[in-house]
């Protein structure tokens, strides 16, 4: 890495990618920003600036606040669960044993399954009459009649959280596992010689050295959970009575069902602003290692 190495027009290599990003990511996001300060109708395709009108309507929009609350609740509860479960899984896998290959594949599989189809499958497993969960509980004798998992108010959200935790704690585990494997063995050997117990080794060596991986996976997951759309759309459609409607789902409904692109844009920009703060934090942590 020490040699000076000069190509004169190397930036040309970046140009095609940059063009694509401008065309489908940066400009559209900027346009959404513009829309949020405008009046717009899809028929006329005309954009008229209207100041803060969309944003001021948000204040009295109960559904907006409910979806914001749901997104925060969903993120705030699933992510810590995923972290703890993921940490246990990673510690479990960070040892030598046979069949590791299969277990790691088992962890990777939930990540690779499309969330939308995952939701479809779980919707079937949650089914009141034909679902496997109710059947198992009935057989064991814990319940007398099938539970309507996705149709009652706090339960639907809890059921949705369970699906999310199932899908992503394993992915969290993989990132944490990579972090664990980057800790040199000598550190542990030294601790062993010092007679340190399992718990103190974990607390004073593993945890501090794992901190970067924990931060990265935490923020990564937080942002993903906060913009989740596929899961509520396919599991509950946001119901019952908007109790599982997330910000992304609400913005989708306002734009593509009510065709109020301008108003939806203000919802999106609020969400975007929250995500931006999170991503700046994320990049701060990353920058240390860049």
């Amino acid at each position: 890495m020490t040699k000076v190495h000069v190509y004169k027009r190397e930036w040309l290599l970046f140009l095609p990618l940059f063009g694509l990003l401008i065309f489908v990511m940066i400009f559209p996001t900027f346009y959404t920003f513009l829309l949020s300060f405008s009046r717009f109708s899809l028929l006329g395709n005309k954009l008229v600036l209207s100041g803060l009108k969309n944003y001021s309507s948000l204040i009295n929009d109960e559904e907006f606040w409910v979806s914001l609350k749901n997104s925060v609740l969903f993120t705030g509860i699933t992510v810590p669960f995923e972290l703890v479960l993921g940490l246990f899984l990673a510690l479990w896998l960070n040892r030598q044993f046979r069949g590791k290959y299969l277990v790691r594949a088992a962890l990777l599989l939930p990540w690779a399954i499309p969330t939308a189809l995952n939701a479809v499958v779980w919707r079937w497993m949650y089914n009141t009459d034909y679902g496997i969960f109710n059947d198992l509980l009935l057989r064991v004798g814990l319940i007398r009649a099938g539970i309507n998992w996705l149709g009652q108010i706090p339960l639907a959200m809890i059921s949705m959280m369970i699906v999310a935790i199932w899908k992503t704690s394993s992915f969290m585990a993989l990132i944490l596992l990579a972090g664990l494997q980057s800790i040199p063995n000598e550190v542990y050997e030294a601790a062993l010689i010092d007679g340190s117990t399992k718990w103190t080794t974990f607390k004073s060596i593993t945890l501090p050295l794992l901190k970067p991986a924990i931060l990265v996976s935490l923020l990564f997951r937080t942002m993903d959970a906060f913009r989740s759309f596929d899961l509520p759309f396919n599991l509950t459609q946001g119901g019952p009575v908007n109790s599982t409607e997330t910000l992304s789902l609400y913005a989708y409904k306002v734009s593509f069902q009510f065709l109020k692109f301008d108003y939806a844009a203000s919802v999106i920009i609020v969400q975007f602003a929250i995500l931006l703060v999170l991503s700046i934090l994320y990049l701060r942590f990353l920058e240390v290692e860049l």
Binding site: M1, K3, H5, Y7, E10, L13, F14, L17, L20, V24, M25, F27, P28, T29, Y31, L35, L42, N45, L89, W92, F97, L102, V103, A105, A106, L107, L109, P110, A112, I113, P114, A116, L117, N118, A119, V120, V121, Y130, I132, D135, W166, L174, A178, R227, F229, D230, F233, N234, S248, Y252, F256, F261, A264, I268, Q271, S279, L283, L286, E289, L290
Partner: protein, 278 residues
Amino acid sequence: MKNKRLLIINSVKTLFVNLLLILVFFFPVVWIFLTSLKTQSEIYAFPISYWPRKITLENYHLVLRGSGFSRYLINSLIVSLGTTLLVVLLAFLGAYFFARTKLKGRKPLLLFVLMISMFPPIAVAPPLFIFFRKVGLINNYLGLILAHSGLFSPIAVWILTNFLKSVPFELEDAAKVDGCGVLGIIKNVILPLSLPGLAATFLIVFVFSWCEFLLSLVLLNQNELRTAVVGIALYPGEYAFPWELISTATFLALLPIIFFVFVFQRLIIGGLTAGAIK
């Protein structure tokens, strides 16, 4: 003697926990597979049966022959392959730039590219719908391929930049002395050495594109053009819930992904974690 017993207890414990983990994480896929082998009457029987009483491949026959489902799978294949090829090409060039350039703005620019991957897809969905409608890219594979490429190329750049940084400069200099231009160096030196990185990127982008829902829903909204994930997910809403067909189609849509996970898990995990920590 005591040690040996402890060893046995320990390996039994390990085996038990591992089996439990595999069961928990595989379960939905196994369940959907078992369901796909059942007849319709068995699926709606009460109480439900776990193991199919009579295994039938009739559902696969129905799904693959002529039904809309096979169309969905083909659409997904076109979009995912198109996206993957475009992303690997553009991201490779971009990553090479990031791994080698000495330009001052390199770091902030790379951070900016990475930040784009954190944009929520809903932020670009309405404008893309509006623009693409004007230029005829709605219900056009190319439109979705471009959108997916924008969505997933930042992560590809990130993974590939990390890979390319590990290819030594000296090799390139040697090639340069031999009179290779930039393209020649890429072709003869970099490309062969970064194949694992390219393969990992290919797999990861393919999986992402195959799984993507929101933009696929919005940009290809004509029924025959829907991708597998969207088509299957929306299917129940349109008719009376043909669950045996839906689970069969779902399992088929999961198959390429299951295949990738089992065959290439080391590559995928390597790529993902190179992107996430490092």
